[in-house]
Every structure is written in structure tokens, then in C-alpha cells.
Amino acid sequence: MAMSQSLVLVTSRRWRRLDAAGIACLGFVLLMVLLILFGPQIAPRSALAFDPLHSLEGPSPAFPFGTDEFGRDIFSRIIAGTRPTLLVALAAAALGVLLGTSTGLVAGYVGGAVDEAVMRVMDTLMSFPGLILAMLVVVMLGPDAMNVVIAIALVFWPRSARLVRSVVLDLATREFIDAARSRGETRLFILARELLPNVLMIIVVDFSLRVTAAILLSASLAYLGIGVTPPTPAWGLMVRDGQQFIELAWWLPVFPSLAIAVVSIGTLLVGERLRRSVATPGGGRPR
């Protein structure tokens, strides 16, 4: 109940004043959702069918982004590739933030030996550079989209946990938590009803920024040939396969690259916008 109330608060208080940038952000998110859900149906041609007659053709009205060595339309492949590229990122960000939030809440509020133990585990996970950890996990679990999700979530887990924990530690010194304790509230009530609503907006912002990071990380894994297998039209994989033709047909690696850049810059701007709307006075965080 607390959560739904704060979400109502968020929607009613902040998004009421939607300016042009806000509408653009909303439009971008809707477009991405549309492409994820119906990408293969929207795409003008098949993303997988070979067409040897049109192999390695440059951009033209028929093939706006050109064709690859098998004659597949790159434009259609990019549209159809939205789902394998973005769904993995969204799922990984969601899983990582979920794990991190619950760990951070418990470690920050319970404190003591629990906190100490949990945070040492997080430190260990943090002592791998993100990409390296993800590589290691995917290599061992096998090339599968779900395993990529798990690997990236594992990278985000300690980072998200640290953030939430620091916010909870800050909140826990506020007197309204003391007020709840002195009233005789249970720990569960304090966590769920008093702390969570205050952390929620920070989690939402964290999630939006993690989505960008997850897009980059999964695209890098795909580029290194880890996690996704051909002929999946994942953008990173398209760059990897197209790279060898760069001197002959630059459009092969360049258009999927641009797709990654545009989408990750888009999500970054949405996240930034979200962060700013939270930072406004009278917003989620007091003072």
C-alpha cells in the first residue's frame, strides 16, 4: 500500500507539469516499448531470410541501411533486433536493482554483523571490473539470453546495494525512524512503510541509469561474441560480424553502432530527466 501511494504521489506531483522535453522522453519510451513488443512485425522485411541477389548493397530507398553479406536488410534487422538487445538490458537492470535494493535495505537497516557480512560479499563482487565478471559468468553458464541477464544483474547487484544502503543509513539517523521505534513499530513495518517510500524514487532513478549501463554492457558482451549466437539480430553481434567488411561496406557495422548509441543516449537522457524531477524542491527527498 505504501508503495502504491508513493507512486501515485510521484505521478500526480511531478509529471503533471510535462514540458516538451518530458513529452519527448515519454515518446521515446513508448517507441521503444512498441519496437520491443512488435519489432519483427513492424520490420518491412525479414530479419533472417537470405537474399543472395542483394548481398552487400549500399543504402538505397529499398534498403535504407543497406544489406549484409547474406543480402539481409540491415534496417529490418535493427528493428527486429530491438527486442533481443533491449529486453536483456531491461531484465538485467530490473533484477540487479531488485537484488541490490533488498540487500541494501536489510544491510543498512539491520546493521551490525549482518551488514558487515553482506557488504564484504558485495565488496568481493565489486572487486571484479564489471565486464570481466559478466564475461566469466556467461562463459561458465553458457551462451543464453537468460544467462546474460544473470551475469549483468550480478554486476549491478553490489553497486545498487551500496547506493540503497547509504541512503538507508542516512535515513535511519532521521528522527522519524526514532519516532517509529519509540512508538513500538516492528522492524518489518519500519522497513516497508517508513523507509521504502523514501527510497523508492532513488531506486527508480537508479534503475533508469542502470538500463543504460545494461545496454552498453550487453552490447559489449555481444560484440565480444559472448552470450548471443548468430543469427540473432542483436546489435552488438551485428557490429562484430560486420566489422570485417568495414573497408568494403561501412554500413554493415556503422548502422547497428548508431542504433546502440541512439538508444543508450535516449535512455540516459530519460534517466537524467527523471533524476532532475526528483531533485526538485518538495520532491522525494526532504531537504
Binding site: 564484504r120 565488496d123 568481493t124 563482487l125 572487486s127 571484479f128 571490473p129 564489471g130 565486464l131 570481466i132 564475461m135 566469466l136 559468468v137 562463459v139 561458465m140 553458464l141 553458457g142 543504460t212 552498453l216 552490447a219 559489449s220 560484440y223 565480444l224 561474441g225 559472448i226 552488438g236 557490429v239 566489422q243 568495414i246 573497408e247 561501412w250 557495422p253 556503422v254 553502432s257 548508431l258 546502440i260 548509441a261 543508450s264 543516449i265 535512455t267 540516459l268 537522457l269 537524467e272
Partner: protein
């Protein structure tokens, strides 16, 4: 005195973390469902073949014994043999580590001062043209994977304008410093990625410092603006920025993997991606351990530098 205990403490922590990392690296490889032997042979292998490989690799012995043996070897500089080449991993690792270090250190050396300078410049007049230009550049660069930037750079500077080699294609034993022109593009790509993050961290810290009461005090003393910025604000911004640079080492290492693959640069990252595609488990393990150690040492050095820059902790 405080500084010394701090450094000692951090060293002990680093050793503890490295032990944990080795356990984790070993554990992920040996406990997760993907068996090493199956990983080596692929899913199509017959049970007999898997069993044979297991025996040859000593995988039938208990976990703790194998772990101790592995760690013991590592401590003596023995990382085992590569499954791909059949040769000892250590010598190959050393040469490639050197190559990667050259790339990484040149990047740090250029990017750290440059990004701090850009961050300070942007913070001087937030919202003005220069700040917006730097910030837009940072957002763009931050949101693009290294290989996207790298590909565009290759396209521009080695294909359309053939000025620089688009690929290093070097022998692993060759000293990369002998061909500096081959370093320009890889270093450039890594520097851009780092500028994006560190300049924004510096900018945020600087804006906060410039709005602080002690900067107001300095201004109302009648000090000129440049003195207020360089003498009063900057010393308070540097320590957290340096710590942030230490954290960023992890991204540089990740970036190295991608950039080395893109430019066929014979470094640790390239070695690891090769090992991954050949399922060369011992090499991957060795690489991960070395990378984690390098990352840990980078963080430690950054923390010590931040400490030395901060009189409150040095005190």
C-alpha cells in the same frame, strides 16, 4: 601516522579481497553447472570423452585440494597450461600484461588531468555555452560503447582519411612503444570514454565547492577569482575525484578488453577474449585473477593519493 595505519589497513583488505576473488573465480568455474570438461569439449562430447578429460585435468579430485594446488601454483608464478596453446600461461600473461599496462597508463596519464581541467572549466559557469558543450559531449561519449567510438574513429582516420593504422596487428612480444602511431586510436578511444565520466564528476564536485560557505569567505576576503578557484575550491574537490578515478580503473580495464579486440592489440584483454572463444578455462582464470589484482592495486593507489591530497586525513 593515521596515513600509515590507513595504508596498512587497505593493504590487508586488498589481500583479503584477492583471496576472496580467487575463491570466487575458482568457484564460478568449478561449481556452476557448466562443467569445465564439458565446456572444453562442447555439448556434443560423449560421456567417455568428458570423463577422460576430467581425469587428465585432475577434475575428479576434491575441490579444496584442487583450489589449494591452484593457489599454490599462482603464488609461485605458475598459472597452469593453456588449453589452447598447451604452453605455460605465465610468460604469455606477463608480456600481454605489459602491453595492456602501457595502453592503460598512457590513457590515465592523458585523461586524468585533461578531464579534471575540463570539469573545472565547465563548473566555472554552469549552464553556459562551454559547460553545455562539455556536458553534451560527456553524455554522448558516456552512452556509446568503446567499439562504436572506435569504429567511427577507424572509419574517419584510417579509411576515409588514411592517416593512422586502424589495426595494431602486432606480435605479442613486440614493444608497442616502437610503433606509437598504432597507439593513437586505441588510446584516443579510451581517453574519450574516461573524459566523459571524470569530467562530470569533477564538474559536480566543483559546482558544490564553489557554492560552499568557505568559497564565499574567500570571495569576501577580496581574493581574485582564479585564486578562489585554484587555491580554495580545487584542493577540496581533488581527493574525491581521485578516488573516483580509482573506481574508474575497472571501466578502463573493461574498455581495454573491447578496444584490444577491436584494434587487434596484443594485450591481456585480447588474450581473454581469445581464451573465451576457445573455452580456455585456465587462461581465463589466470586473466581474471590478474585483472582483479590490477584493479585492486589501482584502487589502493587512488585511495592513497586521495589521502595524501586531503589534509584532514593526513593530519
Amino acid at each position: 601516522m593515521i596515513a600509515l595505519t590507513f595504508i596498512l589497513r587497505r593493504c590487508v583488505m586488498l589481500v583479503l579481497v584477492l583471496v576472496a576473488v580467487s575463491v570466487l573465480t575458482f568457484g564460478i568455474v568449478n561449481v556452476l553447472p557448466g562443467d569445465v570438461a564439458t565446456a572444453v569439449l562442447g555439448d556434443m562430447a560423449s560421456p567417455e570423452m568428458v570423463e577422460a578429460v576430467r581425469e587428465r585435468m585432475g577434475l575428479d579430485r576434491p575441490l579444496d585440494a584442487r583450489y589449494l594446488e591452484w593457489v599454490g601454483g599462482v603464488l609461485h608464478g605458475d598459472f597452469g597450461r593453456s588449453l589452447q596453446h598447451g604452453q605455460p600461461i605465465a610468460p604469455m600473461l606477463l608480456g600481454r600484461l605489459g602491453n595492456s599496462a602501457i595502453l592503460g597508463l598512457i590513457t590515465l596519464g592523458i585523461a586524468a588531468p585533461l578531464s579534471i581541467a575540463l570539469g573545472v572549466l565547465a563548473a566555472l559557469r554552469p549552464g553556459h555555452l562551454l559547460d553545455r558543450a562539455i556536458s553534451s559531449f560527456a553524455v554522448g561519449a558516456h552512452a556509446m560503447p568503446e567499439y562504436v567510438i572506435g569504429l567511427l574513429a577507424i572509419l574517419c582516420f584510417s579509411i576515409w582519411l588514411p592517416l593512422l593504422p586502424g589495426s595494431s596487428l602486432m606480435d605479442p612480444n613486440e614493444n608497442p612503444l616502437n610503433r606509437p602511431e598504432a597507439l593513437v586510436l586505441p588510446v584516443g578511444v579510451l581517453v574519450i570514454g574516461m573524459l566523459a565520466v571524470i569530467s562530470q564528476v569533477t564538474r559536480a564536485g566543483m559546482i558544490q565547492a564553489l557554492g560552499s560557505p568557505y568559497v564565499r569567505t574567500a570571495t569576501l576576503k577580496g581574493l581574485p577569482r582564479w585564486k578562489v578557484v585554484l587555491k580554495h575550491a580545487l584542493p577540496n574537490v581533488l581527493p574525491p575525484t581521485v578516488t573516483e578515478i580509482g573506481m574508474y580503473c575497472g571501466y578502463v580495464i573493461g574498455g581495454l578488453v573491447v578496444v584490444e579486440t577491436l584494434f587487434s592489440y596484443a594485450g591481456l584483454g585480447q588474450m581473454m577474449t581469445n581464451a573465451v572463444s576457445y573455452r580456455d578455462i585456465p587462461t581465463i582464470q589466470a586473466g581474471v585473477l590478474v585483472v582483479a589484482a590490477a584493479y585492486g592495486i589501482g584502487n589502493l593507489l587512488a585511495d592513497v593519493a586521495a589521502l595524501l591530497l586531503n589534509p584532514r586525513l593526513r593530519g
